[in-house]
């Protein structure tokens, strides 16, 4: 079977699977209790270490790109988003400094000089801090499935709308941490990140967030 057909079949399978999951999702009439629980989780969580897998759908290229890596977070504003496959790439946010490590080459700059990375970093950090759900940058609509709360975040600011039409957070009903994150672009293409092997409040070596 040709590779293109395989991709089409895979896309169809993913779509059917998502459709099946979507059917189980229903609106959450009163999200206040869920918000409280997420905020409580955020309050008591000082560090997160988790692996992740990422799928990026590129309809124009008829490709789905897979990547994976590790994610580290430490309150208040330390974050390391590290890809290990298929290439080595890391973004480190340490307060107002950002380091990008691209195939072993470091590049440091102020957070203010790269708004997009800051926005994304703040989204990730904000989830743990509990600030994202209360952020005026997004309009949140809550849903639930048997396992997760699903929050659709529609950007309010025009600048962010240029990049993203929606962010979907999947929040575990077990521990109120983020199970998954889906960034939907204006074109409809999306990037889905699934977190696995999450560990909370374990000490993270300071070097993990090292930025000159």
């Amino acid at each position: 079977m040709k590779k293109r057909n395989l991709i089409v079949l895979f896309s169809l399978a993913v779509t059917l699977n998502m459709t099946a999951q979507d059917k189980e999702i229903k609106p959450l009439q009163d999200p206040s209790r869920a918000i409280e629980q997420v905020n409580a989780f955020s309050q008591k969580t000082s560090t997160i270490t988790t692996g992740f897998t990422q799928e990026k759908e590129m309809s124009f290229m008829e490709e789905i790109i897979f990547s994976s890596g590790k994610f580290y977070f430490e309150k208040e504003k330390k974050l390391r988003w590290e890809y290990t496959e298929p290439f080595k790439y890391a973004i480190i946010l340490n307060n107002n400094r950002i380091r990008i490590i691209d195939e072993g080459r470091n590049k440091d700059f102020d957070a203010g000089s790269n708004r997009m990375f800051v926005e994304i970093s703040e989204i990730m950090s904000g989830m743990v801090n509990g600030t994202l759900l209360n952020s005026d940058k997004f309009h949140a609509t809550w849903y639930e499935s048997t396992e997760d709360y699903v929050v659709e975040l529609l950007p309010v600011a025009t600048a962010m709308k240029d990049y993203l039409s929606m962010i979907v957070l999947e929040i575990s009903k077990k521990d109120y941490s983020v199970d998954g994150l889906k960034m939907v672009e204006k074109s409809g293409d999306f990037t889905h990140i699934s977190f696995r092997n999450k560990k909370f409040n374990e000490e993270i070596p300071e070097d993990t967030f090292k930025v000159d």
């Binding site: 590129m58 290439f87 997009m116 074109s187």
Partner: protein, 166 residues
């Protein structure tokens, strides 16, 4: 035929790349994919999964076009919006008339980081040949001069730079 003329042996390549657009610079990944004998599609996206440019380089029976399917970045000089559907035709017309093209998007430092190095090795040659119109004599648009073509695609060390006109 792009593929035959340039000796492509693979259909897809993913590269590291940097795009410059009105002074803004973004590093990311560039994918080229041969989707037909005469068409190569490309996309630039960052590691976090956001796409900024998608387009195709095509030799059809009657025209050559580099098209951007999406606006690369928002800003355009003099405040006018960038159309995601604009082609390079006007810029090429200027080029063909001896004027320097208005290169408002430059994709540079394209280096392979995955497989298919043979594809990349020949991509520069292939793109230049497209621009030079060596393969087909019946294009509606006149072929670019070699100097302009070389300016659109040129090599820096083991890297090459592709300028795309939006």
């Amino acid at each position: 035929m792009l593929g035959c003329a340039t000796g492509y042996t693979q259909e897809k390549v993913t590269c590291k790349a940097t795009i410059s657009f009105h002074g803004q610079e973004l590093s990311g990944r560039m994918m080229f994919k041969k989707v037909a004998e005469d068409t190569v599609r490309f996309a630039f996206f960052n590691e976090l999964g956001m796409s900024f440019v998608e387009g195709s380089v095509a030799v059809r029976s009657s025209q050559f076009a580099v098209r951007s399917r999406r606006p690369a970045l928002k800003a355009e000089p003099e405040g006018s919006a960038v159309s995601g559907q604009q082609s390079a035709v006007s810029s090429q017309d200027e080029s063909a008339n001896g004027k320097r093209p208005n290169s408002n998007l430059q994709i540079s430092d394209i280096t392979p980081f995955l497989d298919y190095r043979t594809f990349v090795k020949h991509l520069e040659k292939g793109l230049v040949e497209l621009l030079l119109d060596k393969e087909s004599g019946d294009f509606v648009l006149p072929a670019l001069t070699e100097a302009v073509s070389r300016e659109m695609v040129y090599r820096r060390g083991n890297r090459f730079i592709l300028k795309i006109f939006l």
